[in-house]
């Protein structure tokens, strides 16, 4: 079913989006809703369908089922109009090595019919002004990624689509890209849609996430609402057996991990302090009490595990 008028404020919207290669569905029944102005982290393991979805969003592939729109423009039917609103960074090495960074940008600038001043603007945004006159063949991967990002920013697109922009970068390169990408919505007003398997990086950048598994979008929404609320409290007590009894009596289900115990905590610091007091009063000397906030990796692993379990059950049935 093609999306009708895009819901207000959606930069990307897909309904029942699917792509089949031969007999295999690479992407199936994907309903994306990417809020305008958000930084949307598109997650999933290799082969989950992230790149295929991105290629469908950019009109490089035609959907087998459903449709995708960019700011309400159906990509299959209004590719040119949708492309005018979109900048993309798909492949870091998709540059002409024999040309300078400036010449690479100028090639795209002329194709887009933009003024020459655009090049200086985007080079400044990715902090590449100093290296612009050097041949791209001499660039590091991080510099190529930033050049690719500068190219995607030409013309001030309202939507930036990036496929694994931090892939293969060293820690410095990752930090630089993170710094630049995080600033993009504020500096440009653009919606950022990026795929990645670097969960900790996405967690630091994204406001929203979508999780792909076996070609299907299994979860999406604001990162804050999707994250588990419970904090993981790690306790190392002198008498673990007694500590388990005390924690169970307090209504918790402690789990033994290494030389300690963990319990899920939803009541914050006050609840942690109360548990500590109970343990001490019960004669358990508490050697360690540390809280670990839930992170994207926990969520990701949980969802992947749930899906794998469901798939196994389905296959068994």
């Amino acid at each position: 079913m093609p999306p009708t008028q895009s819901a207000q404020g959606l930069a990307i919207e897909s309904r029942g989006l699917g792509k089949r290669f031969g007999a295999r569905w690479a992407v199936e029944d994907v309903d994306l809703s990417v809020q305008a102005g958000s930084v949307y982290g598109f997650l999933g393991r290799n082969g989950a369908g992230k790149t295929t979805t991105i290629r469908l969003i950019l009109g490089l592939l035609r959907p087998t089922a459903g449709a995708v729109s960019v700011f309400g423009l159906d990509v299959a039917r209004e590719r040119m109009a949708a492309a005018r609103l979109t900048g993309s960074l798909l492949e870091a090495r998709a540059t002409y090595d024999q040309l300078t960074g400036h010449e690479n940008l100028d090639t795209t600038r002329r194709l887009l019919g933009l003024p020459a001043t655009e090049i200086g603007r985007v080079l400044d945004m990715v902090e590449m002004t100093g290296a612009a006159r050097r041949r791209v063949g001499h660039y590091s991967l991080g510099m190529r990624q930033r050049l690719g990002l500068a190219r995607a920013l030409l013309g001030g697109p309202r939507l930036l689509v990036m496929d694994e922009p931090m892939n293969g970068l060293d820690p410095d390169g990752i930090r630089e890209m993170r710094h630049i990408i995080r600033a993009l919505p504020e500096r440009t007003g653009a919606t950022v849609f990026l795929s990645s398997h670097l969960l900790s990086e996405v967690e630091q950048i994204a406001t929203h996430i979508g999780l792909m598994h076996d070609g299907r979008l299994v979860m999406q929404g604001p990162i804050g609402t999707l994250m588990p609320k419970a904090v993981e409290l790690r306790i190392r007590a002198g008498d673990p057996g007694r500590a388990v009894e005390v924690l169970a009596a307090a209504g918790h289900t402690p789990v033994r991990t290494g030389d300690g115990l963990t319990v899920a905590l939803t009541g914050g610091d006050a609840e942690a302090a109360a548990l500590n007091r109970r343990l001490v009063e019960a004669g358990c000397a508490v050697a360690e009490l540390s809280a670990r906030k839930p992170d994207l990796e926990t969520l990701y692993m949980q969802v992947q595990q749930d899906r794998s379990t469901k798939n196994s059950r389905r296959e068994a049935a």
């Binding site: 492309a83 090639t107 194709l111």
Partner: protein, 240 residues
Amino acid sequence: MLTLIYLELRKLKGSLIWPLVLAAPVLVNIFVYMLATRMPPLPWTDAVAQGIGLWCFFIMPMTIVALSILLSGVEHGPRAWDHILALPVRRWRIFMAKAAVMMLLIGLMGLMLLVELEATGMAVAAFVPEKAFIGDFPWIRGLTLTAQTWAASLFMGMVQLWIAIRFRSFVAPMAVGLAGTFVTVVGSGLSETIYVPWAMPVAIIASKTVEDSALALQVGLWGGVAALLLMLVDLSRKEA
């Protein structure tokens, strides 16, 4: 379209295409010089026809194979097609610019060959005066043959470019180009060969009748236009 052609040419900076464009006509002229110094003195008209014939018989088809691979490789190599095809530019214009550059380069080599033929004639006259070409350099005849063979090469050029862009591996255009050139070489003299795109340029010079020559030009030109249109439609619709 001029902007796109300019950008295509700029992408060739530092490419092997330029040495190829320079070397291919020189190679033909070396053959012409060697033949001229081993044969009775030729009239300039025959020498020019011989030079252009040598060019069309083998060097031009092989050069077109290499050109098509190198031109498409500018995008295949760094996987730049995705970037270009995601831009708000009509896809047919992108492929049309590639085709235009290909034909421009073939035309440029044809003109270089002609200019270098005159230089070769001067060299023969200087170093082996008894073998000097007879008469004046036939510019009109030379330019006419160059233009006709260039127009007839459109069919071969578009088929080669189409295959080279469609397939990332260079094996497909190379295999097709070698097969086409092989048929041209072994089938030379057969009237049926003029229907093979790779043989059409040489058929303009080597055909037994004026009618066959004209037919080779017509089929090469209009077949090339048809191949170009089909290529533009196919590549524009193809998923990247």
